[in-house]
Amino acid sequence: MSDGKTIELQEYKSEIKPTWCPGCGDFAVLSGLQKALQVLQIEPWNIVIVSGIGCSSNIPHFLSSYGFHSIHGRAVPVASGIKLANSDLTVIAAGGDGDGYGIGVGHFIHAMRRNLDITYIVMDNQIYGLTTGQASPTSEKGMVTKSTPEGVIENPVNPLTLALASGATYIARGFSGDAKGLGDLFARGIKHKGFSLIDVLSPCVTYNKINTYDWFRQRVYSLEKEGHNPSDYLAAVARADEWPNLDQKRDRIGLGVFYERNDIPTYEDLEPALKKGPLVRQPLGLANPEELLEEFR
């Protein structure tokens, strides 16, 4: 908090009007994120939102924080570099399913096993929107798109089981039809010490005519209401496997926190060079260079 004053919601909003299609699920993500940041009272200048490429990756422009609108698939490594350089910052990576689970999936897995203290929000619409409607890594089997006129014949990525297998320490799923729930999931994820993944079912109203708001409303349920225990790894795997899965069962889609562990040290905790504080605040150059030369004599 700056000089003890409460930061108003308005202070997280930028002057730039979102360019998303009317009805796009990403609007709810934006407002949910602004709400979460306001609830946590994090100063906008101490936040960096890093995105990749795609409709959803325009999100940094719509927030008043520092932003880095990076290249396709590389939001997570850029965010990792920022966090390692200045671990005092709240670093949030954001983007779409193509960005994170397709072209950037290698970084996604490695960032999770590193357990850097960053929050990754994936606006998952199961389609490539900005390139006008090709299949994405989370497109369901059988889905007809511009690139799959006979229907998708690959199995979709299940981001939650992938995250569970890769060592993320906060794994949640939200839904753009539940803006209130999104804000809560984001706030908890940002507060969490370690890598947080929030996969958001964020319908594309223009190119995905299958996985619509209504389609989701008929299937989603609250994990919390069913008494799911987020510290139970195997229960989390079972819940995550409800959708999508190899059997193509699609009747139940859990929302909420699948898994959370707060006893695992973050990468920053274990990195020896950060023991003296963030890198940006450490002195540059060598205090005693001559001693470094001994090994070369």
């Binding site: 200048w45 422009h61 932003g67 570099g81 890198l279 540059l284």
Partner: protein, 584 residues
């Protein structure tokens, strides 16, 4: 080179320990007060195959790996078969007489065959199979008239006090080899004076990492790739003490993107790789140009194309560096000519990257990166110039424009965490604030103009980069029959060839050497080449990548081209031979 020198070669299979034995000898030579230059010829295997190392030392600075050795240590039969015939007249071959035969090999006149049971002798001191190398090393030390005490001190440094018993066993083994030669013919009487003035023995990669550390590098993200890996190794060893995060990442895409993220957040950051990894970095490095984030990328070249010859040298990636990334963006490309410049130019690269807020590429190659060379010392008085920062004052928060159009093309840089200066760094074309003009504004007349202004702004940085870097160095006699044009690590062998031509043939030859490749210094080049009678470009690639750049920038085409792309470094003799040929 007519001066007194020693040239030593050791060969064996990978895993036989020839590299560490040669390293020990190089250290002994350094501590004896000689200048040293090493070249390691190895293969992309961990065990087996054939690898060898050459160590050349002299009383004066050594410019290349030299040619035929005076002393050869054979650790296996193939080494004898391949290298024994190259040993110079009155030289010596050290080998294990139990396992290696020199019968039937055509040796130069007067070559001494120093065959004795190295392995059996070594077992008296240790069960380690590599101990026989130390016996052989002791023999070489005697041939070169060096002091056993220096050997002992070198071993003590290598293994440290903690492993005193290892040091003792090695000292005894070396003494046994020394004694054998003492009793069987003694010294080669090369007549080298050992001044005892110890200098530094260091590889190009170590000098690059040291230069980075001196310049305040705080972050290194890298993926292992020969011949760049030892930059990461050295930095990782020193990182905790010096507050540097060294991150081995999943691929080179992550390496460049993390390094750019760290640079954007305000620390001096670096990545290093070879051509294959750099190929993966091209989109990321272009991003650095667009969002105006500082980063230093070291490109240690090896022989391509594709996987090519992973353990062999080449200068074939200049086009890659010049063309990396889509579109036009301002970059600087520096190519150290020697180990000292590995240190200085890397340190300088950090200043250029921050002052001009753009990626700077430092190009080395296997020959320079991995070879041990003697340097007198390093000037650690490295200026750290962080460039225009919004935090320095003079920039009002409410009117802050991260990408403000300025005459120099450089705009005040705010760092995340700085209150009130929030902005978006965008890889899409953007306005002065950093907001996109690519989606709903592109093509609208007012914004067409802004796009052009933003391109002009960024590209104006090239003028400053050119101003802040140096033109080529003309080395050798002012009046020459031919001017040799070179860049980067070719400097040493080229200069040695020039000295040899002067001495042996009385031919005046000079060189025009480039350490700052881009932005290209066209005016200085044109002025220098106007005075040249004839020109020949000498570079380690097939197409003459640098010559083409020079022609594109000046309209001048070198008269001759000598390109080398066999994976081996330049030898002074072949450059001299080519000069004689073209001057006919």
């Amino acid at each position: 080179m007519s001066q007194k020198e020693l040239v030593f070669r050791i060969g064996g299979a990978a895993g036989d320990g020839s590299a560490s034995t040669a390293e020990s000898l190089a250290k002994v030579c350094t501590r004896s007060g000689l200048y040293v230059f090493t070249y390691t010829s190895y293969q992309s295997v961990i065990r087996g195959g054939h690898s060898w190392v050459q160590v050349r030392a002299a009383e004066e600075p050594v410019l290349s790996q030299g040619e035929r050795p005076q002393v050869l240590i054979c650790l296996n039969q193939p080494t004898a078969d391949i290298h024994a015939p190259q040993v110079r007249e009155n030289g010596a071959i050290i080998y294990d007489s139990d396992t290696i035969k020199l019968d039937g090999l055509r040796l130069a006149e007067g070559v001494r065959k120093i065959g004795f049971p190295l392995g059996r002798l070594a077992r008296e001191f240790s069960n380690n199979a590599l101990m026989k190398n130390t016996v052989a090393l002791g023999a070489a030390v005697r041939l070169f008239d060096m002091d056993l005490a220096v050997v002992e001190s070198a071993f003590a440094t290598v293994w440290g006090d903690k492993k005193r018993e290892i040091v003792d066993a090695n000292v005894k083994a070396a003494a046994a080899g020394y004694k054998y030669v003492e009793e069987n013919g003694g010294s080669l009487n090369l007549g080298l004076r050992h001044s005892g003035k110890a200098r530094l023995l260091i590889t190009g990669n170590q000098a690059i990492a040291l230069g980075a550390l001196a310049a305040g590098c705080k972050f290194l993200a890298q993926y292992p790739m020969t011949p760049a890996s030892s930059i990461m190794h050295w930095m990782a060893d020193h990182a905790p003490k010096h507050g540097v995060v060294v991150k081995q990442v999943e691929d080179e895409l992550a390496a460049i993107n993390m390094a750019i993220g760290a640079g954007f957040a305000g620390v001096r950051s670096m990545t290093a790789t070879s051509g294959g990894g750099f190929s993966l970095m091209v989109e990321g490095i272009g991003q650095g140009g667009m969002v105006e984030a500082p980063v230093v990328a070291v490109l240690a070249q090896r022989a391509g194309p594709s996987t090519g010859l992973p353990t062999k040298t080449e200068q074939g990636d200049l086009n890659l560096a010049l063309g990396a990334g889509q579109g036009d963006w301002p970059r600087a490309i520096l190519a150290p000519r020697n180990t000292d410049e590995c240190f200085r130019l890397t340190a300088e690269a950090f200043n250029l990257a921050e002052v001009y807020q753009t990626p700077v590429i430092v190009m080395s190659d296997l020959y320079l990166s991995e070879g041990y060379r003697t340097v007198e010392g390093f000037d650690f008085n490295v200026p750290i110039i962080r460039g225009l920062l919004a935090a320095d004052g003079g920039t009002a928060k409410d009117k802050y424009l991260r990408y403000k159009i300025t005459e120099s093309g450089v705009s005040p840089r705010a760092l995340p965490g700085q209150p009130g200066f929030q902005f978006d760094a965008g890889t899409d074309e953007h306005d002065e604030k950093g907001e996109l003009i690519s989606d709903v504004l592109a093509g609208i007349p007012e914004w067409v103009e802004i796009r052009k202004q933003m391109m002009d702004k960024r590209m104006r940085k090239l003028d400053g980069l050119r101003r802040d870097t140096k033109g080529p160095e003309l080395w050798g006699p002012e009046k020459a029959d031919i001017t040799l044009i070179s860049w980067g690590s070719t400097q040493g062998p080229l200069r040695e060839a020039i000295l040899d031509l002067q001495e042996a043939d009385g031919l005046p030859v000079n060189s025009l050497e480039y350490a700052y490749l881009f932005p290209f210094h066209a005016d200085e080049t044109t002025a220098a080449l106007k005075r040249a009678k004839r020109t020949m470009s000498v570079e380690g690639n097939f197409t003459g990548q640098f010559s083409r750049l020079l022609t594109a920038e000046t309209g001048i085409r070198p008269d001759h081209f000598f390109g080398k792309y066999d994976g081996e470094p330049f030898y002074p003799s072949e450059i001299a031979a080519k000069v004689r040929e073209v001057l006919g």
